[in-house]
Amino acid sequence: MLRILLTACLALLPVTQASAADNVTQFTLDNGLQAVVIEDHRAPVVVHMLWYRAGAADEPPGQSGIAHFLEHLMFKATETLDSGEFSRIVEANGGSDNAFTSWDYTGYFQRVAADRLGLMMQMEADRMRNLRFAEEEVSTERSVILEERAQRTDSSPSALFNEQMRAALYLNHPYRVPIIGWRHEMETLDRDAVLAFYNRHYAPDNAILIVAGDVAPDEVRTLAEEHYGPLEASGIAPRSRPAEPPHNADRRVHFEDPRVPNPYVMRSYLAPERDPGDQRQAAALTLLSNILGGSEATAVLPRTLQVDEERALYASASYNGTNLDDTVFSLFNVPVPGVPLEEAEADLDRVIADFLEEGIDPEQFARIKFQWQAEMIYMQDDVGDLARMYGAALTSGLTVEDVQDWPEVIASITAEEVMQAARQIFNETPSVTGYLTAPDL
């Protein structure tokens, strides 16, 4: 039950919605708190989530990691609850709780019996404004996040490599900074800094409430008004971050680490994200990543490089369109032992060039479209997933309507639109190409 650092995991899941849009209702409190209710009455369970439109990309320069540090400290003492008591009460009620931080959001959730929803709201509203930040807790918890960085990042060559790749891709946008933070800055994070971040970003008009499960919308509204309603709006302005300049040059990254078992090459491009009312390009890129890398046996890259030519252990593509600002489209190739990375890179170039020449296999395109329809059914099985999908979308600047339109937008994309998106990415966008290798001995 450790705090989760949410990185690109969401990106890999097809993001879609419950087909029954009438399960989903929304309202906004007078203080600006936006709320979404997703009904599922199959089990007496509710997922209560509070998302803040504040993540690692909203941190002041020099304070990397502070959004995630605050997420940890949110489990410490408030005016009325002792340190750790929040989780103790959740547990005592049979529930589980956790939190996660990404570049665009920080989220807190509990999964409990449906009749405990009011208690969860009461405690979540309390820690939105009443955290105490005891000095000694701040310093102990700073060791914990440094240990977390050691465990998740410093121990993993591919995590360190990803960090370098991102920093090279984004020239100006704060997406270049890792969510966990750069170690030298994490070491300096103190009470004043984290308190300032908290006061600035944690307010009802900067939050989104998602309640999913065995609840009725009216009941949720009544409880939300009771617990969240009294909180004062902060009048925070919409987010505006430094934007990327045009990328005019290809860049290269070579990261060496003796712990690398299988060297690989990765190429990343800056790519457009889903925008409110304008999701076609992102939908085309989503389908493009499915076509190139979605299935290990039939997608273009693994089919060619892993199966037919047996030159790769793993080849794939990735894209996550649910982002506030410009996102990333990436290609990967982990060659079989003996194939140098220069050749692995040339293999990627060749497969993409052939794809641009030959276009999309219509049968594959039909299968992928059908899988998207099926995903709409499968996804209804887990209200936690649905809640997470709405939360990620709404904190990335999208609306409930955008989320509900998304499957139709996907379904309506033509092969030609996908190819156009492919040409734009692969022919017109400068990229960052990275090698991860072990040093020669």
């Binding site: 700073r142 465990q151 039939t298 047996e310 059914i377 499968y378």
Partner: protein, 433 residues
């Protein structure tokens, strides 16, 4: 890949007496049994299939055969090669998973109601008629070798693998499920065929089903899926003698943070003190921030990001295990705190408040487990392979509530052995030897 079957998972299986989940036992015309939870609100069905045995069936000269065989099931079956098989499952939007662990092979499936019959035929082909084509074998062999390579560079994997090797020696439990580089390279197609014949048999299959299907529809489906499998499989291995003394093993590995994997013998699920041990583990190092070890090692001292313990119910050698990571300069302190907590609980048991909090949590969390067809199907299959009665769900919370401080003191004194605790540390720890 797939790790031990943890008690924490197996015991997810339970509901209060007035559960909203009704389990029905379905026996097919051909005599195959499955447990079913019907729910028609979302038009798909989830299947969870466990074949008892798993990688512990591997003979000494063919370790890794079961793992490689399992990885090949969807790589070509009947008249389909792997790409045709994948294209077929994609066109049906059916999802299959094939995993092998020490005690079982786990096959999972999600099938839309509208394409279910075709999806069942496809899954049957994978189970009954895999082709094990030489090219597919070489491809999957390369993938397994690459997994073995990455595990050899993963401190957590090195730690657990070292622990199991030292604890179980030549018993199959002593070898990673994947086998070794040398062993996997030596596996022949005949080894794989033998592993298939020996592992996927009707006398050791356990099936959990949840979702949009009726008992009448399920019976024939079971016969279609499993009817053509052999009646009996390879005999299960004997008990795994645990041969590890207390102490510390350091595996030198260049990393700023050490990873520790620790433990000693555990107890069986049918032990009279099993529930007491289960509640005790929850208090000592079970999930959440409230465990003693989390409190002492993480919260009060900042020595780790996370530490946990678990009862591992290996069929032939149960254990009480745990893990954490700490910077090289902190790991010695963390080990010291760990041993002190181990000794304290062995000697003094738990407080009434701790016991009550753990019981409240465990019994309250219980009904929350039963959401989602996949999870329910998984729970049903785990219950069966664990020999739990179909009524287990109705009594589980009572069993947890019945545990007393005296029960925990007794089982803690018997089970927790601070001197027998062996800690494998992978890294370059300071002040540990």
């Amino acid at each position: 890949m797939f790790r031990a079957l943890l008690v924490a998972l197996a015991l997810l299986a339970a509901l209060p007496a007035r559960a909203q989940v009704d389990i029905e036992e379905v026996t097919s015309p051909g005599g195959i049994t499955a447990w079913l939870v019907e729910d028609h609100s979302v038009p798909f069905v989830a299947l969870d299939i466990l074949f008892e045995g798993g990688t512990s069936l591997d003979p000494e000269e063919a370790r890794g055969a079961t793992y490689l065989m399992t990885g090949l099931l969807e790589e070509g079956a009947a008249d389909m090669d792997n790409a045709e098989f994948a294209a077929r499952s994609e066109s049906l939007a059916a999802y299959f998973g094939f995993d092998a662990n020490r005690d079982s092979i786990n096959v999972t499936a999600r099938m839309l109601t509208e394409t279910r019959d075709e999806a069942v035929d496809l899954l049957r082909a994978a189970l009954v008629e895999p082709t094990f084509e030489p090219r597919a074998i070489e491809r999957v062999r390369a993938q397994v070798l690459s997994i073995i390579d990455s595990n050899a560079d993963d401190p957590g994997e090195i730690a657990s693998s070292t622990f199991y090797a030292r604890a179980f020696g030549n018993h199959p439990y002593g070898t990673d499920e994947e086998g070794t580089t040398e062993g996997v390279n030596a596996l022949t197609r005949d080894d794989i065929l033998a592993a298939h014949r020996g592992a996927l048999a009707r006398d050791r299959v356990h099936v959990g089903v949840a979702g949009d299907i009726t008992a009448e529809e399920l019976g024939p489906l079971l016969d279609r899926l499993f009817g053509d499998l052999p009646e009996t499989g390879t005999p299960l291995p004997g008990d795994a003698p645990y041969g590890l003394e207390g102490g510390v093993t350091v595996v030198d590995y260049p990393t700023p943070q050490s990873t520790a994997f620790f433990g000693h013998r555990g107890l069986e699920r049918d032990d009279p003190d099993f529930f007491a041990a289960y509640v005790m583990n929850q208090i000592l190092g079970g999930g959440g921030f409230r465990s003693r070890l989390m409190e002492e090692v993480r919260v009060n001292r900042g020595l780790t990001y996370g530490i946990s313990t678990f009862l591992v119910l290996f069929d032939h050698g149960p254990m009480m295990l745990g893990q954490f990571s700490s910077s090289n300069d902190l790991v010695a302190d963390a080990v010291e705190v760990l041993r002190a907590e181990w000794a304290d609980m062995a000697e003094n048991g738990v407080t009434a408040e701790e016991l009550e909090a753990a019981q409240t949590y465990l019994t309250g969390a219980y009904p929350l487990r039963f959401t989602g067809n996949d999870r329910i199907a998984g729970i049903l299959a785990s219950m069966q392979i664990g020999d739990m009665p179909i009524t287990y769900i109705n009594t589980r919370n009572e069993n947890v509530r019945a545990v007393t401080q005296e029960d925990i003191a007794r089982v803690a004194a018997r089970l927790l052995d601070p001197d027998g605790l062996h800690v494998v540390v992978v890294g370059q720890p300071e002040g540990v030897d």
